[in-house]
Amino acid sequence: MTAPLDATESAQHAEPEAITQGVRDIASRSLTQIAWQRLRRDKVALGGGVVVVLLILVAIFAPLLTHWFGYPPNEFHQDLINPSTQGVLGDDPNDPFSTDKMGGISWEHLLGLEPVNGRDLFSRIVYGAQISLLIAFLSTILCVIIGTVLGITAGYFGGVVDTVISRTMDIFLAFPLLLFAIALAGVIPDGAFGLTDNGLRVSVLIFIIGFFSWPYIGRIVRGQTLTLKEREFVEAARSLGAGTGHILFREILPNLVAPILVYATLLIPTNILFEAALSFLGVGINPPTPTWGGMLSNSLDYYTQAPHFVIIPGLAIFVTVLAFNLFGDGLRDAFDPRSSD
């Protein structure tokens, strides 16, 4: 028995109005908008983001802030320092060794004073943020540019190009970066490249950090490109007659923006730490320009008399790095295709 299937009946079933049904309300929102929406629900990441924005504002408006709430960062206040202990002068005028355990934290000096010279810590932290963020941002931008260009090239063209670039990345990652940075900072004379003093120091730091961290971005971009170029929309673009430029910049690159953004955000705190480490080792910015790492380095000699001098720059680095990491993690979750619908 064959099923008596009525051929003419099949005409009615197609439900033509159903074709366009269910194009969802979210329809005209792009993936970025959806990610943003998801990010807004992530309170922890949002908190990190707010802190990041505040830090950037602090760095930008450092002169204004110090004008209102502090003193110039390099102004000495030795009248407030106990000459025998080098700590901040305490309350007891009869005790020659009296020091203020709070480090002179008051309405006058919001974060207290530095030992020895008595410089205002609040202004130094605020100006330190400028240097830290400047170096971290610019070096990260350098990483992203080198990493994206080389990563996308390696991933898309493959073959010998890929082998050469990938091996170069391995070499860069294997480089003893810290030693190299210390050596380079000692070798480059003042006035090289037409830059002097801190201009030169900042540029050298940006260059070193950027030039040696790009493989982190490069590897991610290469991996993403490898999978993206196998996707059918790339083949479709080729079969429409699109050239390599169109495919790289119009088809593939927009799909790389999310991962690049995420990893750049996670690279910034690494670079902040790296800058702090270099300043700590004394190969960073020249004194008296304030940097967080440099302050930490100075503070270690006085940690008994002035514990706040250790804690405050340490806390500044800690909060900044944590905020960037939380924000970056949130960003990654928001962009993650696995959690998408």
Binding site: A11, H13, E235, A236, A237
Partner: protein, 600 residues
């Protein structure tokens, strides 16, 4: 609920082994609860077989997971009665559920490639499955059981193969191993969730035959979950059709398939491509349908000529030669062996065919047959290693990318996966318009106008221009992909499995659209697919490929009704059919062929 018809039941049909009463499953979601299953009831008697059929999102997989008690620990809320071999799956403690799984009810999953642990031998995994439920059993006993189970599912040399790792088996063999794993504790019910969806048609037939044999030999009950009515037809007594979490129809398989009561079942059945319906029949039917629609409106007279006229044109050989492929081969280097030496592998090996203006050439083959590689060579996304491809009298075999650009206007491709063939970061308007832009059109307004016109033509709305692909369903995306292929007004369109990722009813709509567009745009098509029935309905001529070579080529009806090559015959016997009786005769035919090949 006890089934008439199939008599060969070994066990006495006592009470039902599986009983589901008014089952509802709800998932909490961001914007309100989702009712995955709503008021579902069914029974499966001992030794009986139930097929659960539905399209994606119908709730069939959720139901089968709930039967295994796998909803536990998830956020799903479950109400109603769910009893498997006397265990109340909704209320019983976790320990009772663990004892039930594997022992009373075993599950075979869809993807045999990811369901086995790659780091353990299959013997290890089988033994573990047995010893979990029989903790007192010794190693030797468990191993004997494992070998037994492998033998029963038809793994050759089970005593030796028990020590092999999963990667040493093919997909079909892995699915057998998974079934063996299900069988090792001799469960009362075997639950197979899309067990053959990831497999080729010949392997699918073998697995379905195996399940059928096991059910009869061991007196097990079988629950077969599938999106494909034809897969279920030959293997079950009773069928349950689900849609959006609700059972729309339930009954004896013959009755449901021959006299469906619910309109949805009727629609579903009508949408299933039938291998016994020829190209001409199908085309005439589609054109008649199409003519009937405008007839209600403006042009009452137009119906007959539309249905008649193009039929004559369709008979391929009258058109002029459009494409000629001669002795092409595509070589890939396969890395491996000692010292990283690579060996050559021919994905397409010496293939030739001609294609005439206006005809449709179907290319059928299983995975690895080289059909996709061949279509990419014709598209010149790949450069053939040997041979020539001549399009409109021009040799395009070795044209560099830059010179191919004008050719791209004439030859276009529709890809298999509508989810990956559209750039997620571009609006669909941009995606479709890209073609015009790269071909030199600069007038943004004109591009927009053309794209919107075409969107309308493929059944979408012009206002969708600024939406992103993720807002569309699979079928809608495939329409967008079709629009993109047609925007340049090509002469030849290569369709690489254009409907294999879609549900049956969507598949039917897309096929109809393609057929309409072929008439309207005067297209020549190459239609590549693994589904024999789909290919028959769209193709004037058919090419059957196997391992990179053409085994048979000819007029569509000729190949299907009078296959010459044994491989074609094997494929045709393996194709699932809707009629349960015919499915049984196909099964007998397959057994005969298997016996034949084993004696040779």
């Amino acid at each position: 609920m006890t089934n008439p018809g199939t008599g060969s039941r070994t066990a006495g049909s006592g009470g039902p082994v599986v009983s589901v009463r008014d089952l509802s499953i709800t998932f909490p979601a961001m914007d309100g609860d989702v009712n995955a299953v709503n008021g579902l009831s069914f029974d499966v008697p001992q030794g009986g077989a139930l097929g659960i059929v539905g399209e994606s999102g119908s709730g069939k997989s959720v139901t089968s997971l709930a039967l295994m008690g796998l909803h536990r620990g998830s956020k799903a809320r479950i109400t109603g009665g769910l009893t498997v071999a006397g265990t109340d799956v909704v209320a019983a403690p976790d320990s009772a559920i663990r004892a039930m799984r594997g022992n009373d009810i075993a599950m075979v999953f869809q993807d045999p490639m990811s369901s086995l642990h790659p780091q353990y031998t299959i013997g290890n995994q089988l033994i573990e499955a047995y010893r979990t439920h029989h903790p007192k059993a010794g190693k030797a006993e468990a191993k004997a059981r494992a070998v037994d189970a492998l033998d029963r599912v038809g793994i050759p040399e089970p005593a030796r193969r028990v020590n092999s790792y999963p990667h040493e088996f093919s997909g079909g063999m892995r699915q057998r191993v998974l079934i063996a794993m299900g069988l090792v504790c001799e469960p009362k019910v075997l639950l197979a969730d899309e067990p053959t969806t990831a497999l080729d048609v010949t392997v699918q037939a073998q697995i379905l035959d195996l399940l059928d044999d096991l059910r009869h030999d061991l007196g097990m009950s079988l629950i077969l979950v599938s999106h494909d009515l034809a897969v279920v037809a030959g293997s079950v007594d009773e069928v349950l059709v689900m849609r959006k979490g609700v059972a729309v129809e339930r009954g004896d398989v013959r009755r449901v398939l021959s006299a469906p009561e619910h309109p949805y079942t009727r629609a579903l059945l009508a949408a299933v491509p039938r291998i016994e319906v020829s190209r001409a029949q199908r085309r005439a039917e589609m054109r008649a349908d199409r003519a009937a629609v405008p007839a209600a409106g403006s042009e009452p007279e137009g119906a007959a000529p539309v249905a008649e006229a193009p039929v004559t044109k369709a008979s391929g050989d009258s058109g002029e030669l459009l494409l000629s492929v001669k002795n092409v081969r595509q070589k890939f280097k396969v890395r491996g062996g000692a010292f990283g030496r690579s060996t050559d592998f021919y994905a397409v090996d010496d293939v030739s065919f001609d294609l005439y203006q206006g005809e449709t050439l179907g290319i059928v083959g299983e995975s690895g047959s080289g059909k996709s590689t061949l279509s990419r060579m014709v598209m010149r996304l790949l450069r053939p290693s040997e041979g020539t491809i001549v399009f409109e009298g021009r040799d395009i075999t070795h044209l560099p990318e830059r010179q191919l650009r004008p050719l791209r206007r004439d030859v276009q491709m529709i890809f298999q996966n509508p989810y990956s063939s559209l750039n997620p970061r571009m609006t669909i308007g941009e995606s479709i318009g890209t073609a015009l832009r790269v071909q030199g059109e600069r007038d943004a307004k004109k591009i927009r106008g053309e794209v919107q016109g075409l969107l309308e033509r493929v059944g979408l709305e012009p206002s969708h221009y600024n939406r992103f692909p993720h807002a569309f369903s699979g079928g809608q995306r495939q329409r967008i992909a079709i629009a993109r292929a047609l925007i340049l007004k090509p002469k030849l369109v290569i369709c690489d499995e254009p409907v294999s990722a879609l549900d049956v009813s969507t598949q039917d709509q897309v096929l109809r659209l393609l057929s309409e567009l072929q008439d309207d745009f005067d297209l020549t098509l190459i239609f590549v697919a693994h589904d024999l029935a789909v290919v028959r309905q769209v193709s004037d001529r058919v090419v059957v490929m196997r391992k990179g070579q053409i085994v048979e080529m000819g007029d569509g009806d000729e190949v299907y009704e009078n296959p010459q090559h044994p491989y074609t015959r094997q494929l045709l016997a393996a194709a699932p059919v809707l009629d349960p009786d015919e499915a049984k005769s196909h099964r007998a035919e397959r057994q005969r062929m298997r016996r034949q090949s084993s004696t040779v």
